[in-house]
Amino acid sequence: MSALADMQSRMHAALIDPRADPAAQALFARDGRLGAAGGLAIYQRGYFLRIAACMREQFPALCHALGRALFDDFVADYIRDCPPERHTLYDLGRRFADWMEARRPDGDAPEAWVDFMIDLARFEYAAFTMFDAEGNEGNVFATSDTADSALRLQPAFALGRYRFPVASYYHAVRRGEAPLLPAPEPCHVALVRRDYITRTVPLSAPHYTFLSAMLAGSDVDAALARISARFGIDPMMARDMWCGAAGSRDRWIEWGLFVAVDAGPVKDL
């Protein structure tokens, strides 16, 4: 290892864990107003505070749920175990939910609040990612006149399945409320962006299955067949859920879930 590589490895290790190498300050000149330890401490402090501030922007509802002090403690442990890898700060929170799952503070005695925090982290990162994902703005969306066979999900679309009503909790925090931690309740949510506005769409279990099938490449007919088989729903009733008087078709088209394609071969899952 070159002298330069060795120096960079030691300084970086000292940022990630200031206790790891107390001799790291010997890398630096002792003159100047800050001295070696004082100068290094500015980088060490800035490393954590900068990343914690970015994580609070990516997980505002989770920060609210945990309280800032506990949230920051989680972040400190997280970035020590999972130092940032990519050039973009958008990537900071990518591994956070999985890390919380692997390092659950309740150990062998699972507690519901930890499950909620993990689900909320997963939802928030998905919502944050949608902000700058590839989308369909500037291109044509499907309209109510588009044939079912030509409907496909647009790129800025994601599905989530959670053990708690994380989307409603998130929006309550966004409205400035102070929601209590919710009781467990299965929750299916779609995220979709149109005109650079991300919308959370609550879904029933059949709706979730329908959109999962479309996300995997099915067309509408195949997706309807999927929910009929999965939930034992009469095919006519399934179609009514889709395009009947109270069906979801027109509403979802209005919200920009679909683009129109030339109907070609599709996967029948």
Binding site: D132, E134, R193, I197, T198
Partner: protein
């Protein structure tokens, strides 16, 4: 890219005048107002991989104003291999936006596959110079344009450094043909913390290679100063700017403001103060003093996360 070619390309770069850092909070004001005699510097990483509103906004701004791209993650000094995916993405953005130039910092931001999201200082040695020069050449060849490198703010000096920062940058520019971005606030911050003379720094700096200058505010803790970009430019920095602007022959000048960002008009008013010093006015003591507190975190990259919850969410429930 041969040095002579890079030199020729640098000589042909435009003198853009006064510009502002492009920040999310100003998007609407920039695009709704009448075009002004202004240019913008976009943080490359904010837009490189963007499929959402930021990229669309940058397109719209670039249609109305000159734009340059300023990076914080090239990590030109790192001993990790150059990130080819990053460079490819940067090149695609540059081909798309057609910036007047592309800049980054003389620093490293990570090693061993990790990223600190900070602009970490280089030991200023012959080994570092050879290492950085080789990488600048590779980047210039790949981007097909000269790279512009900025002097970072720093809080430590490596014990085994053998070169001054101006000498390092002079040699680097001579060996590679790269241009320089002179951040006069960084000069002040680094020199204050090192206990050295910022005027002597400017005297030694290769001003003939300067394509652009940065202005920004910093926080004064008495014993040391931190490059916070969260307040007006301080008098000491305006004085350095006055000297440097003349020596660079009127390099393009840009105001950075990255935390506690005021409204667009207030940022413009701060920027326009530069005109007085470009005309040769001396700086009155106490100018632009600001009492606002802060947490004193150096802020080279902390503004890169959009407040997605506040601005772009709707609940269809």
């Amino acid at each position: 890219m041969p040095v002579a070619v890079a030199d020729g390309r640098l000589a042909g770069l435009p003198r853009l005048g006064l510009g502002l850092g492009l920040r999310n909070v100003h998007f609407d004001a920039i695009l709704s107002g009448e075009p002004q005699d202004l240019w913008f510097e976009a943080i490359s990483e904010n837009f490189m991989d963007s499929g959402g509103r930021p990229r669309a906004i940058l397109h719209a701004v670039a249609e109305r104003y000159p734009v340059v791209l300023h990076g914080v993650s090239l990590s030109i000094g790192s001993t990790d291999p150059l990130d080819r995916a990053y460079l490819a993405s940067l090149k695609r953005l540059a081909q798309d936006i057609r910036p007047a130039w592309v800049s980054d910092h003389l620093c490293w931001s990570g090693v061993n596959g990790h990223n600190s999201h900070d602009l970490l200082p280089m030991p200023l040695t012959e080994e570092s110079l050879a290492h950085v020069a080789a990488r600048v050449r590779q980047v210039q060849d790949l981007l097909e344009r000269p790279l512009i490198l900025e002097n970072p703010s720093s809080y430590v000096r490596f014990a085994h450094s053998t070169l001054s920062e101006p000498d390092f940058l002079r040699a680097l520019a001579a060996e590679t043909g790269c241009g320089l971005l002179l951040d006069v606030n960084n000069v002040y911050v680094s020199c204050f913390n090192a206990g050295s003379d910022p005027i002597a720094y400017l005297d030694a700096f290769p001003c003939e290679r300067v394509v652009q200058m940065h202005l920004a505010g910093h926080q004064d803790f008495g014993t040391h100063v931190i490059d916070t970009h969260d307040r007006p430019v301080r008098a000491e920095v305006w004085e350095l700017f006055r000297i440097a602007w003349a020596r660079t022959g009127g390099a393009a000048t840009l105001l950075e403001w990255d935390d506690h960002i005021p409204g667009f008009d207030d940022c413009l008013a701060e920027l326009r103060k530069a005109e007085r010093y470009m005309a040769g006015d001396t700086v009155s003591s106490g100018a632009a003093e600001c009492a606002r507190g802060g947490d004193g975190v150096s802020n080279p990259v902390g503004f890169l996360i959009p407040r997605a919850m506040a601005s772009v969410m709707e609940d269809a429930a």
